[in-house]
Symmetry: D2
Subunit: 286 residues, 4 copies
């Protein structure tokens, strides 16, 4: 039987049954594998890490995108860093106020593979007239960028070693450049590794880097069953966000209702409680 094995922590692993391999190879930037899981539908792997699975990619992408979009009173201009599957763009474009989305994903070939093998994940978003899709290094793009972004979504590969080249994607230097090019009212959200494992230093590193650069950062989490983990995200703002979980939840709910936004996978209610992490996990995050 074919199996896909992925480390779940330093000592534990997830072994997934594999059906058909849809695509496998190496672009100029990364190794990719698209396979069909009997439980989770098409799964996309980059450099040995599951990126998302058909069965609950919407839970992941809704949780990544909407807290930031809802915390901004009227997001017009949005930057997506990474986001190759196109599902992040799909979620961003559901906010009617959005006039322009710049998606910077270095890997043109991977974006093409996603269009071919999982077209429903972008659902036309990449061809939306509001969309500008750029295939370049985010580190090269940011310095010359003179746009004001209201919201920035980081949908880049997860990193274990923040001193590696990939670690720059979550580094102070990149976020510093981002801080310079975006406006003062920016809301930034990024994926930030699994929560609940014994070692959550990766999540803490990302959140604290964001806090250092933008002034305010919070952790939140959402169960993503196909990841076999509660997944972690970090949200940063320059202006102080609502202070209590209850106020934050109210703001998210009220704005979602005001914008007529439904979240088919997560639901507005569950999303609004995503900042209320179990106490033990919160304490572990410091």
């Amino acid at each position: 039987m074919l199996k896909y094995t992925q480390a779940a922590s330093a000592h534990d692993a997830i072994v997934r049954g594999m059906g058909e391999v849809l695509a496998q190879g190496r672009t100029a930037f990364q190794e990719y594998l698209f396979f069909r899981s009997p439980e989770a539908g098409v799964c996309i792997v980059l450099d040995g890490d599951i990126q998302s699975c058909e069965s609950d990619e919407a839970m992941y992408h809704e949780a990544l995108v909407h807290p930031a979009m809802l915390l901004h009173p009227e997001p017009r201009c949005v930057l997506i860093m990474g986001g190759g599957e196109g599902a992040t763009a799909r979620e961003v474009l559901r906010h009617a106020s959005v006039e322009r989305v710049v998606m910077v994903d270095i890997d043109r070939e991977f974006v093409g593979l996603c269009r071919e093998h999982v077209p429903a994940w972008s659902a036309g978003a990449l061809d939306d007239p509001r969309m500008e899709l750029r295939h370049e290094d985010i580190n090269a793009y940011l310095p010359g960028c003179s746009e004001r972004f209201d919201v920035v979504i980081g949908d880049l590969v997860d990193v274990q070693d923040f001193d590696s080249p990939a670690g720059m994607l979550y580094g102070r230097e990149l976020y510093g450049r981002l801080r310079e090019c975006v406006g003062d009212d920016v809301v930034v959200a990024t994926q930030a590794g699994a929560l609940g494992a014994a070692d959550v230093s990766g999540h803490v590193h990302i959140r604290d880097t964001l806090a250092g650069v933008f002034g305010h950062a919070r952790s939140y989490g959402m169960v993503v069953p196909s990841f076999f983990h509660m997944w972690g995200f970090a949200l940063a703002t320059s202006k102080a966000p609502p202070t209590t979980d209850a106020e934050l939840a109210s703001t998210l709910c009220d704005r979602a209702r005001g914008r007529g936004l439904e979240l088919p996978a997560v639901g507005v209610d569950a999303l609004s409680h995503a900042f209320t992490l179990p106490r033990q996990i919160r304490q572990q995050l410091g």
Copy 2:
């Protein structure tokens, strides 16, 4: 390297690193294994299924016990079905109104092993003067029982095949007998299998059986990281519970505050949102 492998679904598996084996063998009723996991501390396995792990047993047991205890206005007399580790009793006894707890766990030897190897999990609860510990079959105990219980907690092994002998632990017959012996204001909670997998028919079976017998039943969930799943629970009442998630959350929070109850692992806030499942999971549960 020693590994402990457990099915996570029909096609997927969790492989855990194992350190020391603390105890391994077979009682008159089940096979047991106590091992030390580098990530999750001591883990207890019965008949091939992880029961709980040191790192987050409190998240599991708080989630199992407190919603039911808080939904009852003044729980005095509590029945625990199973609960061998003693951690369920520990949580029940944290409510000051409790005068008497009957714990019926068939397996005297397993309870002894837990006292020996993980004494902190029961934390003295099994020796509390309010506690009556009976080692007999719950099916034999219930018919002759003439006590009125305010709250019943089902902490029995998870079952995949509800037509097997173990499946009787979640069957209409057992719950029917329970219904006869307890009072009309009873609140019942039980573990009810993992949520989020492709197949949640086990959870639905338990919840619907409870609903059929008691009149009202709801699903709720809590992330338990060492299970690599959001774990599911079912809560049943004869009287209608608060109708909206928000009312339910308020009731839980208010009563926890009123009783001075703190939940060190889950926290009162996260527990109060445990009924607000992500929409996709809720729909899957029907």
Copy 3:
């Protein structure tokens, strides 16, 4: 990481690292997978069982083919049952006396896949003018067959359940039909499952069926490193073969030298000792 897992016994398994998947799918008859193993080169899997691997397919195919070919004084006409990779035909054709080879492999598509992905394994054999390649069921072919074969090589998929349809490939009925259509001097060899595991009943079943039909049958074995086992074969004759291992070894060596046959993978010397199994394994085979 991609892994290929295969049962090695009722309780043990081999987990192989996988590189590129060259081909994967289903023909009209079986599921196939061609993948590149970092250790063993291209590996071919049918219905979940490794068939052969680039690194040592020659050890397997030499051991399968040459004892039977050498025990016949002058093999002219050879029947191959199965043999889709074409490597069995390659080995058969190395005997200069061979005038005609009939290879009956039901699965035209699989033979085509092997030609495409591992052309070196057939090394032109399938296009040799002495070769007749028939894509039909061996059970359908045999009854109408009026040829006299000197040697028959069974290179069919391994079978665990001899009562299944695939089990017919090793059944008394098929071998009986074979016995009728071939001459009295036939030498028959077939793969016959792994040796050395706790359960060798599969091997014994095949060998004893052959003995019952042809009169004489012997077990032999060859280490095939990529199988992680000593692989078993059974050889049957109507006439009594040399009685001692030493005589058998001499016959094999003398004839190989007489025919100028070299065996690049196994070598003539090691092959000639293949019938001298370790005593414990011999006793296990009864």
Copy 4:
């Protein structure tokens, strides 16, 4: 289910079902694990490597001991380096000419564990009056040793990294000291890692070190089913051994018969062919 996973090569692994854990812990020198395998009986693991299994430890120990014992015309005094299970001593003592055996195994506690849990493996050998059992470092023992040994058997843990401290157990310095203290007619045999894998550099290193020190060294192999490999051994002599495989086999057979030695697991015949490795493996060994 409990599993024991062991690397079988750089990319492949063997996963074994585990029953009862008989003993697990750490002596002053190594980590040990004794577990019951459903297929192979009691298995002994040291520092993560299977040492031997009940089902075929005799195949391993007969193959390790008897070629050296038989190549010496009359072995009286034998040195065992390592050999903690006591099974190597058991085999050595089956030669009637043996007057004295010195077994130097550093780990007194491990030898005690083997006496306790697998007493049949030593079968009383450790209490034989001809036996001297010393618990000290072989590197400390050799320099002061003034005995002449006829045969030396190396039954030490397998080593992957010959530059590690454990690598000294197979190093030129240790074998050099051994050469000085033993006589000129010594025959030395040692386990020497698995054969047949892509990387056999470990085996070659050991055999070539022996050849450099003693003058002559040869590789041989025996299938050990519970190892899922053909296991490799190296045999060294100061005097030239028989030159052809056939002469070597004759010598081994004749002497075994002369001494009335039966080999219940391997058999004399299969043992006598252990030097006739498959050609491809022989070429790989250089």
